[in-house]
Symmetry: C2
DNA sequence: ATAAAACATAGCATTTTTATAGGAAATGAG
DNA sequence: CTCATTTCCTATAAAAATGCTATGTTTTAT
């Protein structure tokens, strides 16, 4: 399924912040994330407004300000990040034939739509930002080291 | 997550056809489905064009014509129905930061996007149209019978 | 004071969704 | 053979969502 730009940018940004999490104790500016990932800074602002509302990042205004992760990467799941920024992914499916055929409506809701939502949430809940950082790191060192082994 | 009108209509229509599957050996007209479910017939035509392309229904043109399920309900899954009509649900998520940060890109793809697609497909694969018919029937008789038990 | 940064809001172009309209082609019934 | 019925095909259009830009305003360290 297609994850929107907002969702993808949010995940990439949070993973990128997590990569420098232990080193950098201070905050990270949007412009640095923007440059590192090649994403428009203006658009990232909107994404971070949602991440902040979802309590995934905290912010410090003014010069030398920036953003920080609100929690350590191992306590943040992909589900939470996407939930904070993705609108339609977590919208409930509307009624369809509720008037004329309420039994079909109810059966579809229970056995298909609700089951699907459950499966999606379950799958995303299990992926932590820490895992993604490790996964990315593994690939990087694999690329770098492969020739010398 | 939000399933589009096309997907919902397709599921409702296929379940509705399956309900009369053993009785009616002949074909079912779009207009009868349209009236039974309260869905625009003109729009249903477009949905059925996709269902036919996906080989879920067969059609007979002309007077006394109509549509039939291509297979018995127990051999049709919700996954197949949605796959035939839903475009974005089965679109692959595009690249995001592939240029600047290929490791993050690859990690996200593998651990989030591909894992999500797998979970969605797995969940939808398990739901058959037969199950939905039985589920709807159970609700119906529960409503009707409850007072007399 | 000033520059750096978050924060807020408005607007716009493109694409997708959800339909409607009108007719063409096929076919069974009388 | 003709006609009503029904699938099939294509075009159009309104509404919504998406992705992004623009322009400021506030806050704060230096």
């Amino acid at each position: 399924m297609r994850i929107s730009a907002k969702g993808r940018y949010a995940l990439a940004a949070v993973v990128s912040m997590a990569q420098q999490h232990p080193q950098n104790d201070g905050s990270i500016t949007l412009i640095s994330i923007s440059e590192r990932l090649g994403i428009s800074k203006i658009y990232l602002e909107q994404v971070f407004a949602l991440l902040k509302r979802g309590e995934l990042v905290t912010s410090v205004k003014g010069a030398q300000g920036g953003y920080q992760l609100a929690r350590p990467p191992r306590l943040i799941s992909a589900l939470e990040v996407l939930y904070a920024v993705e609108t339609t992914l977590f919208d409930k499916t509307e009624d369809t034939v509720a008037e004329r055929s309420p039994e079909i409506e109810t059966a579809l809701r229970a056995d298909v739509f609700d089951a699907l939502d459950l499966a999606v949430a379950e799958a995303l809940k299990q992926v932590t930002i820490e895992q993604l950082v490790l996964s990315a790191e593994r690939r990087k060192s694999a690329n770098a080291g492969m020739f010398y082994i």
